[in-house]
């Protein structure tokens, strides 16, 4: 259980601040007319921001960054395959 040398309480709070900030940005982007009218800009931006939040929570809060990489492989494989399968399904509909 000593893997936590890398993640300190201070880091957790910093991440918390970043996560809140990103959420605020997302809210702002949603409300902003420039983005609202430009789907090509809004979709990648919002998806990108959610990926950043996702990575932060999975990598640090869920400790994947520090654990044996078998766990990241299991999660990554499941997630990747799900994305693939459901994208194919969506296209086939």
């Amino acid at each position: 259980m000593g893997e936590n040398q890398h993640a300190t309480v201070g880091l957790y709070w910093k991440f918390a601040a970043v996560l809140c900030f990103i959420t605020f940005i997302e809210w702002g982007v949603f409300k902003n007319d420039t983005f609202r009218s430009n789907a090509k800009l809004m979709i990648p931006l919002l998806l990108g921001l959610s990926v950043v939040k996702f990575t932060m929570v999975c990598g640090w809060y869920m400790h994947l960054r520090y654990d044996s990489n078998i766990l990241a492989k299991i999660f990554g494989f499941s997630l990747g395959l799900a994305l693939l399968v459901y994208t194919i399904m969506h296209l086939a509909l």
């Binding site: 997302e26 919002l46 998806l47 959610s50 996702f54 078998i70 766990l71 299991i74 499941s78 459901y86």
Partner: protein, 197 residues
Amino acid sequence: MSADAHAVHHTVTGIDNRKFGMWVLIGSECFLFGALILNYLVNRDRGLVGPKATDIFNIDITTLSTFDLLMSSVAMVLALHACQHREIKKFRFWTAMVILGGIIFLGFQYFEFHHFIHAGLGLTTNVFGSSFYLLTGCHGTHVFFGVLWLTSMLVTSFIRGKEWFPSVQLEVAGLYWHFVDVVWILIFTVVYLFVYL
């Protein structure tokens, strides 16, 4: 739980069986929520009668509930950290904060569902509503079970006293909780932020 005896068991990967098992469950849940999210995306514009998403979603409230769930994840890592460092007061305090965050989130969900039903979107009004309620209802049910789980651990802490530091079990509960949060991050983006797209 006399799991401490098991915690000593040697494992090939060095990871506790229960933690490993939770990650496997999380892998499975990717497919569960993936199906629900896809179903929502397919159906969100297929409602023939009744309100549409653009009529009733309230991004301000939803952003607040997202913020709340994120903060509960912060509380979760702090609770685990305290448990691993055998700090009983902080362990109990932060666990209670996670529970509070979860309950507040469920409160937001209740508020939102109540508002939607009043606006004319029931479970069976149209296929958009059905898909929405199924997805967010499933997520909310997961939050509810998480709240129940953590509450049980908090109560057990008071019963078992100041020497009980269930680090592995709390880590496993934490993984579950964070995953539920991560699913919400996805739902927030794909369902709410993309409502006009």
